[in-house]
Amino acid sequence: MIKILAISDRKNKSDYFNTIFNKNTYEFSCLSDENLIFDMISADAPDVIIIDTQIKDLKNINKKIKNLCPNTIIIFLISANKIDKDLIKYANAFLTDEMSEDFILSTININMRMKNSLEMLSNSNKDLADSLYRLNALYSTSSQFSGTLDKAKLIQYMIEGMDKALSFSLTCTLSLCTEAEPVLILNSLYELSDELIEALKLRTVLNYNSMFDGKNPPVSINSDTLKVVKQIKYPASRFTFSLFRFDNMFAPISLGENTFGCVEIFKEASFSPDDATCFQTIAQQVALPLKSATLYQEIIEANTKLAKLERLKSEFISIVSHELRTPLTSIKNSLDILMSGRCGQITESADKFLSMAMRNVQRLSGIINDLLDLSKIEAGKMDFNFAPTNINTVIDYVKSALSEVAKSKGLTILTNQEKSLPDIKADAQRLEQVLTNLVSNAIKFTPESKTITISSKLAHSKDIQINENFKDTVKLKDGDYVLVCVEDEGIGIAEKDLLHAFDKFAQIENSLSRKAGGTGLGLPIAKQLLEAHQGAIWCDSELNKGSKFYFAIPVTNVLSPV
């Protein structure tokens, strides 16, 4: 009901208003005593005050009313068409003595509507400001969340964020993830007694257990041994058990299967629905970076483990190859002495078996060399002597070194070299190793009376055709390359095995080629050696037709300083 107060000492006016307003269900009163007026206004501010301008001490009354109830509608009752300019600053409307009932009522109603609209506007403005503030707090909290992978900091940011957005009296944060053991962080305005802390511990553990619907929690917590960290803002004052009569909210801090803890918040005034949303949001938001931090930590740990394993592997290979080499040397020496005939005549069949033993000693020492090479490259300990190198010199050397072996198998090695190739920055000895390996493989896998061709040429990366299977692994940078190809007419490689040709021990998996001997380490070593030259290796092959092994080394690298 709209409350109207008239201030007038004219009885006829007061009666007139009384009739009108009572008839129209307004709560109307009329006063003329100054003291009574202010007592009434202070006790129960009316919505509308009608002031008769003929009242005594009008100026003073106006001022006081404006101070006491700035939002009340002030209407002055004036003599016809004469407005005192002083009144305008106080007035919302004017009535004259002659005005009809309808006129009076509509004046009041219009002003009431205006007042209501203004109030609504001011309320929504206030809400808007609140939301904006909260949004700001949320925003700064989430940017803090995204800025760190330190779990203790994340939990601290969460508490600070809630402080900014919700201005609580106390938060009870159970964190499972910041230290080796669970810890209860009590962030409080005032100091807490030991009894209250015990009660909060018990309450938090109960809250925590309730998160798992009677199932066993992932980490069981004993309230007796739970570690407590206190953060007190004003230690001079102290909370009592009455804290439990405060309004409170609770939220788990978890993401999917991962539980990082929970948080309960207490506040003397009650929380609004917006407060609840904000609280939930912050508790949910912190879970994601906590999860990332957990994953990050796991990755770091796994990496450290891997690095250690890798080191152990290198050490293992080094030790093993040393331990293998020494007895192998003794075996080889003994065989050498026996085969030289210095210990007596060797029969033909004895020689056959001694040779067999010798061949295998050589094979074994080859394997050990390969293993050592590979472990050195992988550990980044291989030394390269880079110098301007002409690939044709390397090809000529390998051809002359292996043509005897090829001939003994009835094979011919041909070369097809582009003349005047530019020098490349390379370790000639390592390139010989690569090419020797490729040609030896070709000899190994090619049947009698066929040919093996080694070719070289200069080609631009865009003109070099790389087998589809290697599109993802072999990427050549734009520029000129020296391209070498070793082509054979051997047994070839099935398409599905092409990509694995350069995997470690790939050959060992394949029983057919195992007969041909070798460790299966030659190609992976070649690959690593070429990568150290910024080059690449790949192959084309067709079963039972033959294979083409290519490698390319950039020409531009000769210009860069060694």
Partner: protein, 120 residues
């Protein structure tokens, strides 16, 4: 007759080297650890030393350095036998003074030829 000192903790290797070197008319002295090797080297002042790298107590590099810094012995050629292990690679960066490196497994004939070369 030229005197050769063979130092290696692997007795079998010492045995085979001794066999081929004696067959090539050298007198061989053998030591099976670094300490004995060093003592023997100073005692007999051999014409050439074949020295293993990895040995307990004193490794071959150390022996080589000790001898090469001493005017009395610095002209004795040293053939260093290595298994190319990583521990050895770490040491090889230092100045050892060895005249020649022989990688295990080695050809006995190569060793004999190298010895002959140094003692010509």
């Amino acid at each position: 007759m030229k005197k050769i000192l063979i130092v290696d903790d692997e007795q079998d290797i010492v045995e085979s080297l001794k066999f081929v070197l004696e067959a090539a008319d050298f007198t061989c002295y053998c030591a099976y650890n670094g300490e004995d090797g060093l003592r023997l080297a100073k005692e007999i002042i051999p014409d050439l030393i074949i020295l293993d790298v990895m040995m307990p107590k004193i490794n071959g590099y150390k022996i080589s350095r000790l001898l090469k810094y001493d005017a009395k012995y610095k002209n004795i050629p040293i053939l260093m036998v290595t298994a190319r292990s990583q521990e050895e690679d770490k040491l090889i960066g230092e100045e050892t003074g060895a005249d020649e490196y022989i990688t295990k497994p080695f050809e006995l004939d190569d060793v004999v030829n190298k010895v002959k070369q140094y003692l010509k």
